[in-house]
Structure formats: structure tokens, C-alpha cells
């Protein structure tokens, strides 16, 4: 099966087997910022932006991404030029093991694209789908609040 979509700003044609998820496709393309935490849509470690919304890429079938805009944390910033949210997560100490961090940053970015002045409650709601076992969410919430 074939599908055409935008991946991190580039028009992309993908061939895939029936039933393949966006999560597996991305990792097969060496986009390793999407992580496996459960493959059941429970943990948010595989979060990608689909048309600006944070989604669990493990629940998205490849055939549904036709014409969509897919982004991962690689699209936000690079090692030489961090996105301001990436910098904020570093500055606030919001990164511990870092496994859930790309997903949290994307969930935060999706929120900020919709709502430039989120309240703490808005941020908690936006991060509710991203499980983190290291930080207790205290510093990630702070990293987004300071925007």
C-alpha cells in the first residue's frame, strides 16, 4: 500500500504493509525520537503531531495519514538550533531519563499552537496523555508555563 504525506516538512511517499502503524513506520525511517512505552495508546512516548494535534503514533494506521502533516521532535529543533520548548525543558530540569521527553515536548507544542497563554490546568490536561515516571510532571509543567 502507498500513501503520500508531509513528514517533518518534506513531502514523503511511503510504502507499507497493511496494518502498519505510523509508529513503526517512523522508527523504520530512523526517526527514533518516537519511543515505545506500551503500543496501546496509554503512555504517549510515541507521540507525533498529526495536523498540529498530539497523537499516539502507535494507534495511527499508515493508510490514514494520506495528505496529513506529520511532525516529530526532529522537526522542532536540532542540536545546533534548539526549539524554545526544548531549551525550556533543559533549563527547567524537566528532563530526567528523557524517554518521554520528545512526546511531552510535542504535546506541549500542540497546546501552545492552539493556546498561547495556557493556564496550569490547560498544561496538565495537555500532558495527561504522556506518562512520565521520573519527574512527577512538576518541572515539565513549569517548562511550559514559563512560555
Amino acid at each position: 500500500m502507498k500513501v503520500t504525506f508531509t513528514l517533518n516538512g518534506k513531502e514523503t511517499k511511503a510504502e507499507f504493509a497493511p496494518g502498519e502503524t505510523l509508529f513503526h513506520y517512523l522508527r523504520s525511517q530512523e526517526i527514533y525520537s518516537v519511543k515505545n512505552g506500551c503500543e496501546l495508546g496509554e503512555c504517549g512516548a510515541c507521540t507525533a503531531l498529526v495536523d498540529n494535534k498530539a497523537q499516539n503514533s502507535c494507534l495511527i494506521m499508515m493508510h490514514t495519514v494520506e495528505g496529513k502533516k506529520i511532525e516529530t521532535v526532529e522537526n522542532l529543533g536540532s542540536k545546533n538550533n534548539l526549539h524554545h520548548l526544548q531549551q525550556k525543558f533543559l533549563d527547567e530540569g524537566a528532563v530526567q531519563c528523557g524517554y518521554c521527553t520528545p512526546g511531552m515536548i510535542l504535546a506541549s507544542e500542540a497546546l501552545l499552537r492552539e493556546n498561547k497563554q495556557p493556564s496550569t490546568e490547560d498544561i496538565r490536561d495537555a500532558l495527561a496523555g504522556n506518562l512520565c515516571r521520573c519527574t512527577g510532571y512538576v518541572k515539565p509543567i513549569k517548562a511550559v508555563s514559563h512560555e
Binding site: 515505545n36 503512555c43 531549551q87 530540569g93 518521554c100 520528545p102 498544561i123 495527561a128 515516571r133 510532571y137
Partner: protein
Amino acid sequence: MNEKQTTNNDMKYVGKKTVRVDGLALVSGQPVFADDLQLRDMLHIKILHSPHAHAHIKSIDTSLAAQVPGVQLILTHEDFETHYYTTAGQGYPEPSSRDTRIFDSTVRYVGDRVAAVAAETLAAAEEAIEKIKVEYEILEALLDPRESLTSNIMVHEQSGLTMVHDHKRNLIAELKAELGDVEAAMEKADHVFEQEYSVPFAQQSHIEPHIAVTWMDEHNRLIIRTATQVPFHVRRIVAEVLDFPISRIRVIKPRIGGGFGSKQEILNEEVCAAVTLKTGQPARIEYTREEELFAARSRHPQILKVRMGVKNDGFIEAIDLNILENGGAYGTHSLTVMSVTANKALSFYAAPNKKLLGQAVYTNMSVPGAYRGYGAPQGFFAMEVMLDEIATELKIDPTELRHKNYIKEGDDVPIAKILGEGGEGYPMKIYTSGMADCIDEGKKLINWDELYNEEKSGRVRRGVGMIGCGQGSGIPGIDMAAAFIKMNEDASFNLLAGATDIGTGSDTMLAQIAAEVLEVPVEKIIVYSSDTDMTPFDTGAYASSTTYISGGAVKKAAEKVKQQILDMGKKLLEVDEASIKNGCVIAADGNSVTYQEICTKAFYTHEQHQIMANASHMSYDSPPPFNTTFAEIEVDTETGIVRVKKIVSVSDAGQVINPQMAEGQVEGAIPQSLGYALSEYMIFDDKGAPINTNFFDYHIHTAIDMPEIVTKFVHTDEPTGPFGAKAIAEIPINGPAPAIANAIYNACGVRLRELPITPEKILKGLGKI
């Protein structure tokens, strides 16, 4: 005791916020975790787990499975000689039971390993697993630890086990200890309190599952890239189990997505390595979340009977602790977790008379292992709820009761000598304690006096509760760490440390220690950690040891390098006396030479040599950090639902090396204990099968579940620790659960002695159901 070290109050890098040295890679999504690579011809491994709690395998037919296209190898017990080892991932000789085979002909819990399939695709491996036909002779299962000692079911019938106390009675380990004369003290006490407490299985729930990748390198050596807390133990134990030389194994620890003890276990590395050794091909094994929740490790459930003899004024004269620990199907960590329960619970209060009987028993249930706190959360739940009961009965404020009884600075801790890591320990003294400040600060931050004493009425009732606790800083006399530092000509330094950063930030903290000694910015320290080919040994990231033990090794190595820089500088300046300042060696006459010049000349032109040093560190001390945790909660007396409003956690971790990261440790530990109190517990059906094996049913805290968190540190200057430091990683997990139980009593008068706390138990306590 180690040589007393002085603390410099003008520290530049220790005690300061520093951006993590691995932070850039993590926020930008670099391929730094174990699974972030693709290797040609990689085989994917799936495990066939036992569906039965207890059964003999009569036969295994793999013929159909082998026909699935892409299947390369199937492993069962028939492929391995009988060899018993422990998966505990501890130093050698391990104190844990050697009762485990890589594959066995008896399965002892739902989830036990029956077979492994390695195939070219994950789908083929999954399909083949379904096609393995196993004929089981189902045996009666032992599912209640209270019955283990007298049951006619034997979880381990076989002979040849070592480090098992009495397998015929299902007794993994037994600990007895007495200090003073407990019975005489109970006789004399004004009050004797006696209660039973219990705590359930709970799961570490790191977000990155267990993952290992193995391959043979160009030189035909076995490379194991694995999410582990103990790379050097992985190397040793894989070598032992597969009878393969240590010299031909390299274990690489990349970034780790959390461990919390679970990744101390040698859970799958030996199977992955066996596949690579047998096929010559790269192999990969990753647990699913479901497997994590029924076939990995968890926290040991315990039933704790506590008896305390107390004087009218609240002084505790005697403590009698009886522990029955459910060790599950294999004895890994059972003895040492239980000894930590006893050691921590019995050493926190200064009572002169103490007695312990601890028994860890087999059942046909999931296998517990190491989990942050390692026995202390179980012990402090029992102790601290009982302290609250004493405070209530004697009408003494709970904070005052702790003030009277906690062990004080200068006190000896005789129980530590009796109860070490699974055997006799070492003499211990409290050199530093900020406990008084921890109590007083916590009281203020939670508004204790007002909230504790306010009148409770209405449907939703507010309450506050508190606890005090201690932990340790590494395992005394056992943990050892080493580090190596070499200088480069731009005055940067490579720090090669055995210490294992599993997301805790230890690479950063060690860089700060090296920077402080060498008087260079943290950016000048290039850290590479935990690779058995490249770095010196370290026992691993467990027992709150990294700051204290590994930090001590880095400090020593850095001091040696600094001395070499100074010596070389003096030679270049042709003086006998000089000092180091601002990256220069300076003579009394004002002449100076920079670090860069010193290293460059040492490399190329003057007495050519590499400025470098290594150091090892261990300690017979394990100074306890201290903590108080205060909880403010609301109980809905109609529904029984508890809402946690605020947690205050005040810690004495000595000189904190990195305040932001230390706060992060506390903030992360709190929700794990909130879960332990309220939502996280493994549920088993009547055949011993775990039911809640996903994150919907095993609920860990999300961002919207979190209460307000207040963390605070009180300063002490531990003379035995690097720059005055003690540990912080584990201690904050002890407090929230018992503090919540105590707050519920304060709010509505329901005394809960069993975790988890459910609405049903509260409504029963209120007499409403």
C-alpha cells in the same frame, strides 16, 4: 570511617544548578537509547510465558513453530544444562538464592519463561510462539504467603539450590536479630502497641521497557547493548550462565529510560546473548508493557507485625518487628530487601531494645525484585502508621513524637552492625542529621498546627498526616566504584566512570564533582559512563550509591589529576611552591602557566606523559539521609474517595550536589508512592494470574492526578561524603503512602493498616458498607 573531608563553602559547581550533560541529545531526540539502532540480519526474540502458576512441562513440541517462515532458533530447557543462578544482578557472591535456570522444566508462576523464539521479523516470532505445543502437568499452586511455611506444596522441589534457607518449607530466607532485651522492656513499658500491617505487589513502571540488543563484533566478541543498571554484573552473569569468557563480552549501557530497580535484574540479556551466540546473528528482545506487568519484577509484598513498648511520655523503649515477605516464585532480592526493611525501620528510632524475625517465603506468584526504596517503603509504612497510632493514643502531637524518638547526631546505630546486607553489617554512627529541621520545616510548609487540630465535619473532610524516615548511602563494605580521568591539551578532561546513569543525572553530578576539584567549568568535563570495555568497574546504580560511592571515586581521581597538574606546573615554572587558580598554576612570584600549556608541554615537549589518574572508592559508612513527608488530603465520606491536595517532602541529603536534579528526584519519587498508596497494585485471579497488565488498569499518576508538590532540603555537611553529600534517590519514596494513611485518620478517624487504600476500605472504616 573514611578520612574526614572538609567542605569548601565557596564552591563553584557543586551545589549549583547545571544543565544535564546528556540533555541536548535527549531533548533533540537523538538515537541514544538501547533500541535506537538497526542492524543487518537482526533476529527478533519473543518469549513463551507459562499460563499456569505451577506445572511440570511434560513435553514441548516446537516442530510447527519451527516451520513458520523466518524462524531461526527456538530455545527451551532441553537446550541447556542444569545450572542455577540468580537474576538479582548483585555483586559476587550474590546474597540472593541461586534457584533459577535460564529455562526450566517446571514453571512456577504465570509468566515464567517456557521457551524463546528468534525470527527474522517480530511477527514471525509472535506467530511461532503461538504454535509451540506444551504439555503441562498442572500442579497445585501456592498463592498465599501465610501458608507457605506449612504448605505441602513445594515451589522448589529440586535439589542443587544454594542460598535458600529451607526449600522444603518454602523458606527463602530467615533473619533473626535482637538488641537489648525486648521482652523485659515490654514488661516495663507503660503501653504496648501491637498491630499488623500489609503492603501489596507494586510495579516500577519505567516507561522504557526492558530492551537488549546483542551482536558479535568484528573480532567475534559478544556485544550486549542493554537497558541495565548493572553493566558489570550483566557481563559476569551472562558469562556464567552461557559459559562464555568475560574477556569476550562487552556490555554497553546507553541512555536508559528509567529503571527504579527493575533494570538491576538480569531479565533477558542471557536469552538474547544465547541467540546471538547460537546463530551468529544480531538479536533483539524487548518486553511489551503487558510482559512488564506480569513477567518482570515488582515490589515485595510484606505482612508486618509490629509491637512497640512505649513510656507515658512517648519514648519508645522496645520495638519488635516480624516480617513475612512474599518472595514469589524465585528468591531474587528476597533476603536483601527484607534485611533493608528491618535495617531501615529499626535504625530510624533510637529505642534501646529491638528484635526482628523476618521470613521470606516462596509462592507461585509474580517475582518481586529491586524497586526504589528496596524494602524501606514497606517497613516505614508499618512503623510510621504505628507511630501515628501511638501519638493518637497518648495524645502527643505526631511531630513531637518523632522529635522525641528519632536517632540523633552522634548516636551509634548498633542495629546496623547486626543487620547488614543479608548478613552481619558494619558499625555505624550518625555523623549528620537534619531531622529536627526536616520536621519543623515540614510543619510550617503544610500549616500543620492549624490543619491537624481543626475540627473535622461535613461530607468532605480535610486531614493532614506526617512521617519521618531514613535510608542509606550505598551498601557499606560492598559497593565499590572506580573512575578514570585524563587531561586534554585544551584543559578539558575525559571522565570515564563505571557509574550507571539510568536517567538519574549521575553523569552530570559526577561532572560537577570533577569540575569542582579541577577548578574548570562543567563543560570541560566530557563524561563517558558504564561500558565494560571502556570504563572501570562500578557495582552499579542501586542502593542510593552513585553520589556517595561513585562520586567519591571521581573526587579522588580528580584530586590525583589536580596534583599532577600542579607538579607539572611547578616543574615548568621551576619553583617548589605554587598554587592553582583560574585554570593556571601560579608561583609566589606571580609567574604562571596555564592548564593548556601544562598539558600541551606534557604531551609534546617536556617530560612527555599523559596527565591521568584513576581511583576506586568504597565505604564502610552508609550515612542515612533523612526525610519528613507531610500530606494534606480530603476524604469524601460518602464515596470514600481520597483526594491528595498537597505533599511536602523535606530532606536532609547532606550537601546537595545539584539542587535542581535533587528536587527532580523527590518530585519523581512522590507520585510512585502516591500510586503505592492509592492506585498501583497488582491484582491476581484465583489461579495466580495477574489481571491488570496494562496502564489503563494499573494506574500510575498522570499530570492531572498530581497534587501540589513542595520539596525542600535542609543542609548538613556529611564528613564521609564527597563535598558533604549523602544520597537522595530513594528516600523520598518512603513517605507519601504512610503520610496519606495518617492524614486519612486525621480527617475521618479511619485507621488503615493495609495498602492500597481504596474507597471501599474507607467506607468500611466509616461503617457505611
